[in-house]
């Protein structure tokens, strides 16, 4: 009996180990493929120059700048909006029917395919608001895409703040507004930032939402304002892989662009993680 049990547990544990290894190997394989195919083209010129000769030479600098601005602006739009929505859902939540509608809307938004965000952005931001194909239209479209993740993370973060803190603040004569601003939000902030970090990766890498709203196939110029159209890293990869006349030169550049995109996401996330770490350290509980 005990031997059978032991064998069973031996098999069970090693089965789990196998799956962990499998998962990890996918990640490493992924990094290996991207870096081995694209690592060699990444150099200083690649990072700092515009594409040349029908994108067979030169670099991807305009696309880096474009993705950077699209990401920063979309998070800058979605984070405050998401936090305010989450505050409303957790602290006021009246009338009940409105909260239900908002919740259904959020969950539906979360499941919408990203290409449909692209169409939505085209109709609303590009045409209706007349922002044209621009950084602004793209960032707003990406912001709407990031909203559900940020709202859900913020709501979760605010709900996990112990009720004790809220009671203590109110019992000291604080208003609801003061309690939210001075106790609840600062305590929830690290977990809200986690939602923002996840969104950064998502937003930076999306192609479909910016397809009709912000991205341009090719430009040598850097954007002068948020009303300009831009190149963006994910769209540039797509363009290099599908539209090129010289695949031999362009495919490695596509992988190189992927390396840069990964690095950029990693960099921005790391900065956000450092900020979160600092806040956590300051307000340990």
């Amino acid at each position: 009996m005990t031997t059978i049990r032991r064998i069973k547990s031996f098999i069970g544990i090693n089965f789990l180990r196998l799956f962990i290894l499998l998962t990890a190997s996918f990640l490493f394989l992924f990094l290996y493929v991207i870096f081995s195919k694209g690592g060699s083209v990444v150099n200083w010129e690649f990072l700092t120059h515009s594409p040349k000769r029908f994108m067979t030479e030169g670099g991807i600098y305009p696309a880096i700048v474009g993705t950077f601005w699209l990401t920063i602006l979309s998070i800058g739009f979605a984070l405050p909006l998401g936090i305010f929505t989450a505050i409303f859902m957790t602290n006021f939540a009246k009338p009940y029917w409105l909260v239900r509608i908002v919740r259904v809307a959020i969950n539906t938004l979360a499941g919408v395919p990203s290409i449909i965000y692209g169409l939505f952005g085209l109709t609303v931001f590009v045409r209706l608001f007349k922002f044209d194909v621009s950084i602004l239209s793209g960032a707003l479209t990406l912001g709407v895409l990031a909203l559900p993740v940020i709202i859900n993370a913020s709501e979760e973060a605010i709900r996990s703040v112990p009720k004790d803190f809220r009671d203590a603040s109110l019992a000291l004569g604080a208003t609801k507004r003061q309690t939210i601003l001075r106790v609840i939000l600062p305590t929830a902030l690290p977990n809200i930032l986690t939602g923002a970090i996840i969104s950064i990766g998502r937003v930076a890498g999306e192609t479909a939402p910016i397809l009709f709203t912000a991205a341009t196939f090719y430009t040598r110029l850097l954007p002068k304002s948020v009303m300009d159209e831009v190149m963006a890293l994910p769209y540039h990869i797509y363009a290099l892989m599908t539209e090129g006349a010289h695949p031999a030169k362009q495919v490695p550049m596509a992988y190189g662009t992927a390396v840069v995109l990964l690095a950029l996401v990693l960099l921005v996330s790391t900065v956000a993680i450092v900020i979160r770490y600092r806040i956590r350290k300051k307000r340990k509980w």
Binding site: D164, S169, L170, A171, L172, G173, T175, R182, K284, W285
Partner: protein, 256 residues
């Protein structure tokens, strides 16, 4: 007779009834809390003593489905009057909770919280933080690490920090909701010592499960049972000759 009691009281209730949805939790409660005395509220779990305590600073307002009928007089002002600013009531009537609940902030910022939200200036806050920590008998233990996290303190210290935080508002009344039930005997003794020390400065109302504690520190005791105030009397009187048979049974440990 009720009116006469009220005139001498610091805070008192008048025919106070409270429901949580359909559950009648407090029934026609009339209790006077006297100025600069310690009043203890005792009774078995679920008798409504904590709920009654929370009526004195309107913390029940937070609870959904809570309905209140009757009055609570702070001197001669009904704190449930629609014109009353609830934040003003909670500044005058401070509260300390069962479980120590400091904010995830530094020791200093915990005590300064009430002052900051009222926009006091920095030098005044600094002085009052020190004064409050001294009043709460915590100053000597924390003066060298005011900017350390409040969570670096022991449970007993945290509870005294919460008392200091309440004192910083310079309240007239402090409500203590079983403040020692989560603490060890030594920390409990320290809190009791603190209550006796504070008695000359503020009116104290303490809910306790510990009958001996009520006997040790309180001037008046209220015994509650099933949402009613069964008996209210000077502690010595109640502990020696309880008038109601239920009080006698509870004090002798027949139930509870």
């Amino acid at each position: 007779m009720v009116k006469d009691i009220r005139e001498k009281a610091h805070i008192s209730t008048e025919n106070l009834n409270l429901w949580f949805d359909d559950n009648h939790v407090l029934k026609e409660v009339n209790i006077p809390i006297y100025d600069k005395k310690i009043t203890a509220m005792i009774g078995p779990s679920g008798c409504g003593k904590s709920t009654l305590l929370r009526c004195f600073n309107r913390m029940n307002d937070q609870i959904e489905g809570c309905k209140i009928k009757g009055k609570v007089h702070l001197y001669d002002q009904n704190i449930y009057d629609s014109k009353v600013d609830v934040t003003d009531v909670r500044t005058k009537v401070g509260m300390v909770f069962q479980k120590p609940n400091p904010f995830p902030k530094s020791i200093y910022n915990n005590v300064a919280y009430g002052l900051k939200i009222r926009g006091e200036n920095k030098s005044k806050i600094e002085g009052l933080v020190e004064k409050s920590l001294k009043k709460a008998l915590l100053w000597d233990e924390v003066k060298d690490r005011l900017h350390a996290s409040a969570f670096s303190l022991s449970g007993g210290q945290q509870q005294r920090l919460c008392i200091a935080r309440a004192l910083a508002n310079d309240p007239e009344i402090i409500l203590l909701d079983e403040p020692t039930s989560a603490l060890d005997p030594q920390s409990t003794a320290k809190i009791e010592e603190l209550c006796l020390e504070l008695k000359n400065k503020v009116t104290i109302l303490i809910v306790t499960h510990n009958i001996a504690q009520a006997g040790r520190i309180s001037d008046y005791t209220a015994f509650m049972y099933l949402g009613e105030l069964v008996e209210f009397a000077p502690t010595k009187e109640m502990f020696t000759v309880p008038k109601d048979s239920r009080t006698e049974q509870y004090l002798s440990g027949a139930f509870g």
